[in-house]
């Protein structure tokens, strides 16, 4: 029963959404980054201000399936800009889409908190350059707010 289009109104259509932000490496970089390569858009680099979004195409949505967690996100394609704000500090970064991800449906219900401010479910993955602008890389996962830039 593979649907190619999410039926419900995307939660990010009219307002900022809260969720978890993590980071991933891409490009021809050291370590296990080579398996990601240049990403679904062919332009991803760990040193650039870029991110992965769960709904860049039908094929992408078939992998990330945010609807499994009970919500849908807007279709945004390569190059689209989002602003990600760390809920702890208020610091934000604007990045453009370079890959498909994260695998939202594999982490449904996961929560990350800063103080008493919490957010659930993985919505966005940033490159190391972008994540380190708003949080320390060693944190690995942070609650955030995402809106269009």
């Amino acid at each position: 029963m593979a649907r190619t289009q999410p039926p419900d109104t995307p939660i990010d259509l009219y307002a900022a959404v809260r969720g978890e932000v993590s980071w991933f490496c891409c490009g021809t970089a050291w370590g296990p980054c080579s398996t990601t390569g240049k990403g679904a858009c062919g332009t991803c680099n760990s040193g650039s201000l870029q991110h992965a979004w769960p709904n860049t195409s039908d094929a992408c949505w078939a992998i990330t399936h945010p609807d499994t967690c009970g919500f849908n996100l807007s279709r945004r394609t390569c190059g689209f800009q989002h602003r990600t704000t760390n809920l702890c500090s208020g610091v934000s970064v604007v990045t453009s889409i370079a890959d498909c991800g994260p695998q939202t449906d594999l982490f449904c219900g996961e929560r990350s908190c800063c103080g008493s401010t919490c957010a659930t479910d993985r919505i966005i993955d940033l490159t190391p350059a972008a994540y380190s602008k708003i949080a320390s890389l060693s944190t690995g996962l942070r609650p955030c707010s995402i809106d269009t830039a």
């Binding site: 078939a62 610091v91 800063c114």
Partner: protein, 251 residues
């Protein structure tokens, strides 16, 4: 030697029927066809028709192998199919190493040594089938070959290998740790991130942890904060975020 050649067609046909039926009738497999190495080869738009064509071919060869008239050409056809399959696996490994094979299952598995070994054994079986042997097949040999080929099929791991590994993990407990007094730094940092103290100072922090030490039941964690230094004190016992202290110290 009698019966070995007669056994092979049944083993090969078993796999060809399985592969053919999956390609023709598994919706999940068709949904994932665009991510397989086959899609790389023929283009994403032609992946599903190509998959169906290969499936029909496999069923046709299986039917020929099982149907009564015995002919060396059946073995030859099966050998050609197996050789073609090996070539496809090689292409997949070289051109699209992280793509799924799209061979026998809908669960994406990149091509690995097990896949090559299975394809090689099927080729060997096809070659052994060429002398059309009228004798009765050797049932035990056939079963042994089938079990070996099934064990090499990564698509089936979730039915037996994963539960076996889960059982072994439950029995051996490879990650069990002896109880220890030492509190890992990660535990303290997680408590820190949940503290009001961290929330209030977070916007000022400009580095990761510069220094950390334990003293008097507290873990001190030091961060850079522009021209100043942020020092946190995190209790080593208990789980109360509000017990975390912070101050900013001028340079």
């Amino acid at each position: 030697m009698h019966g070995i050649a007669a056994t092979q067609p049944y083993v090969i046909a078993l796999f060809l029927v399985w592969a053919g039926l999956m390609k023709l009738f598994s919706r999940r497999m068709r949904a994932r066809a665009g991510q397989t190495a086959l899609a790389r080869l023929v283009g994403a738009a032609r992946a599903v028709p190509a998959l169906r064509l290969v499936g029909l071919l496999e069923l046709a060869v299986a039917a020929a192998l099982l149907a009564p008239p015995l002919s060396p050409w059946e073995g030859v056809t099966a050998a050609l199919l197996s050789a073609g399959f090996l070539a496809y696996l090689t292409y997949s490994y070289v051109a699209a190493p992280t793509a799924s094979c799209g061979c026998l299952g809908a669960h994406s598995r990149p091509v690995d040594l097990r896949a090559f070994t299975r394809a090689g054994l099927l080729l060997a079986a096809s070659l052994l089938a060429i002398p059309a042997d009228p004798h009765a097949p050797l049932v035990m040999l056939g079963l042994a070959e089938a079990v070996a080929l099934l064990a090499l099929s990564a698509e089936l791991d979730r039915h037996w290998l994963t539960p076996l590994r889960q059982l072994l993990v439950r029995l051996r407990r490879p990650l069990a740790v002896p109880p220890s007094e030492h509190v890992p730094l990660g535990t303290s940092l997680h408590l820190l991130y949940r503290s009001p103290a961290y929330c209030s100072a977070s916007a000022q922090l400009t580095s990761d942890v510069q220094d950390t030490w334990d003293e008097d039941g507290l873990r001190f964690v030091v961060y850079g904060a522009r021209e100043r230094t942020a020092v946190f004190a995190v209790p080593l016992t208990g789980n109360d975020p509000s017990a975390v202290l912070v101050t900013l110290v001028g340079s």
